[in-house]
């Protein structure tokens, strides 16, 4: 490499991205509250959140396309806060790709190399096009390619510069579901192959969990929680995370007693057990706690067979309101004193034909699968109705 921009020597800390106290305000509107964030070198990092939560603004501040109101951006040990985008060793895959319509695929991919004064680009470009399986299309214009192909060109155009960090802004948003699945795996493969730090912005929680090593869930300009996908899913610390990542049944309960590591709660006339290690809420006796459990952890038993349920499981009684068969599982909505619309997903292994709407049932699950949240929050945060406003981020991006 002749260029100095993409040297990844150990001296400057390589591809760590360190945001320190970074924030962005537009007039009275705060898009990103001051936040500290470190993305370790070589990781696949996802910023997840609804539209308008500040994730794209954060990404654009790393790219240099947006000037932070406060704070610094560091790549390794280098402070790049004051560098314009064209001097940052960072490249972006833009939302809707932003391929240059007047240039063919080859020239699109070669653009960055040429701007850095590299004369012989042919070999590199061809290799890169082969990597994304577009060798045949080099002389076509972007509008002649399908959405998936355009997406791969956008990735190739950014990756060929060997950036220290690759930023992806909703890169799969314009693709249909099947293609999106395919590209998720493809991007993951490329990331493993090139070993570059990827920072990926998405509103699709499944996409974030499939691809990323670490996910930061953002809401209203703040990072709500950060961790591995499994950690976020199993141990959400806020109702927003519990609802935004998958579905959670949240029950308002009162702390009854504590025995060792177990907390016993009263909810809807019954008792529930919550492992103390799995709650982020204060658990003084008599205090309120939101108890959560994922729909797929719950078993459903006809009230007549209630006796067969093993001891030591959390139980709730209720009546089936609705059921829908979706192939791999059946989704039930159950009305119970503790919670009016309990969601339960039952694998279609041995289907109990008696479980039709109107049936009295017992819901039961292993107490270890219960998590506790601070009852001071809205139990509806992060559900579909309360998710961010669609247009806000669009406007902010301009």
């Amino acid at each position: 490499m002749k260029t100095t921009k993409d040297t990844t020597t150990a001296g400057n800390g390589g591809g760590d991205v360190r945001l320190t106290g970074i924030s962005k305000t537009y007039g009275a509107f705060t898009a990103v509250h001051p936040l500290d964030l470190t993305v370790p070198e070589g990781s696949f990092f996802a910023l997840l959140g609804a539209s308008g939560c500040g994730k794209t603004t954060t990404l654009r501040m790393i790219a240099g396309l947006e000037e932070p109101t406060s704070g610094t951006v560091r790549l390794g040990d280098q402070d790049v806060t004051a560098l314009p985008p064209y001097k940052r060793p960072v490249n972006t895959v833009f939302q809707s790709y932003a391929l240059f319509p007047h240039l063919d695929i080859f020239e699109n991919v070669a653009f960055g190399l040429r701007r850095r004064g590299i004369k012989s680009v042919r070999k590199q470009v061809e290799e890169m096009l082969d990597l994304v399986q577009l060798g045949e299309q080099a002389r076509k214009k972007p509008h002649q390619l399908s959405g998936g192909q355009q997406q791969r060109v956008a990735v190739a155009r950014a990756l060929i510069n060997h950036p220290r960090v690759l930023l992806l802004d909703e890169p799969l948003g314009a693709l249909d579901l099947k293609l999106r699945r395919q590209m998720q795996l493809e991007l993951k493969r490329i990331q493993t192959e090139v070993g570059i730090t990827f920072v990926h912005v998405t509103h699709d929680q499944e996409e974030a969990m499939t691809m990323a090593d670490t996910v930061a869930v953002m809401n209203a300009g703040r990072v709500e929680q950060l961790g591995s996908p499994t950690d976020l899913y199993e141990n959400p610390r806020t109702t927003f995370v519990a609802n935004f990542l998958g579905t959670s049944n949240l029950i308002e309960a009162e702390v009854d007693s504590k025995s060792g590591d177990e907390i016993v709660l009263k909810a809807g006339g019954g008792k529930l057990v919550l492992p103390g290690a799995r709650t982020s809420a204060p658990t003084a006796t008599g205090g309120k706690v939101l108890v959560g459990v994922r729909p797929e952890k719950i078993s459903l038993t006809h009230a007549d067979d209630a006796g067969e349920i093993p001891e030591g499981r959390n139980r709730i009684t209720g009546r089936i309101v609705d059921s829908s068969f979706i192939g791999v599982s059946t989704q039930f909505v159950v009305d119970s004193p503790a919670c009016s619309d309990f969601e339960v997903y039952v694998q279609n292994i041995d289907r109990d034909t008696r479980l039709v709407p109107g049936t009295e049932v017992v819901l039961h699950w292993n107490p270890a699968h219960t998590f506790g949240l601070d009852a001071a929050q809205s139990p509806l945060a992060g559900t579909v109705g309360s998710a961010g406003v669609e247009t806000v981020e669009e406007e902010v991006a301009r």
Partner: protein, 266 residues
Amino acid sequence: MAFVNWLKRHLVVIAGLCTLAYLILPNVVVTVFSFNNPKGRFNYEWQEFSTAAWKDPCGVSGLCESLSLSLQIALWAMLGATLLGTMIAFALVRYRFRARGAVNSLIFLPMAMPEVVMAASLLTLFLNMGAQLGFWTILIAHIMFCLSFVVVAVKARVMSMDPRLEQAAQDLYAGPFQTFVRVTLPIAAPGIAAGALLAFALSFDDFIITNFNAGSTVTFPMFVWGSAQRGTPVQINVIGTAMFVVAVLLVLVSMAIGNRRRRQKA
């Protein structure tokens, strides 16, 4: 009954084609009469077929001089108006600044003002400045009234351009200047070309403003005007026909090239 139904279904087409005929008819007449051999000084009545005028298009004194002057003025006016208009269009679309409303009105007003008013006003200014009427005053006037049309054409194109394209260029190591030359300009080019073409056509064909501000200089439209009073040489029709044919040929050739290129790529 079937005929009435057919008529009903194709009424729009028939009416449209009638309008088209109305638009084309004068050009047909111009072409036919370019082969006329008129008796008097005026070329309004058909006499007999002749190719004399086609063999000697510059045979009338002053005609080809005025044509060449008009072409020169149109060329310079096009360059001037396109340069200034493109700059304004970019400023309007890409930047925030004070007094945007005032700027917009200043650009809109010349298009909403009858030519004769602009012409008379400008002449008053030139007379008061004691300016020598001629080539330069014509050029100044032409750039002035073409400017707004260029702004409108370029603005439309730049506005429909995705701002992410320029950001992508910056992200790919192109500095502001490189971004402009490599991305912004090529993408805005069709709009700029349209504006330039419009400016050329408007300038070349302008009579009213030129008539006021030309002094004794004679552009092609002024030559035609003058000859309408004194006697219309057949050569005028020859020039008119030739320009029509050249324009159509140019368009057809460029379309054919475009088609062929598209087919090669596919």
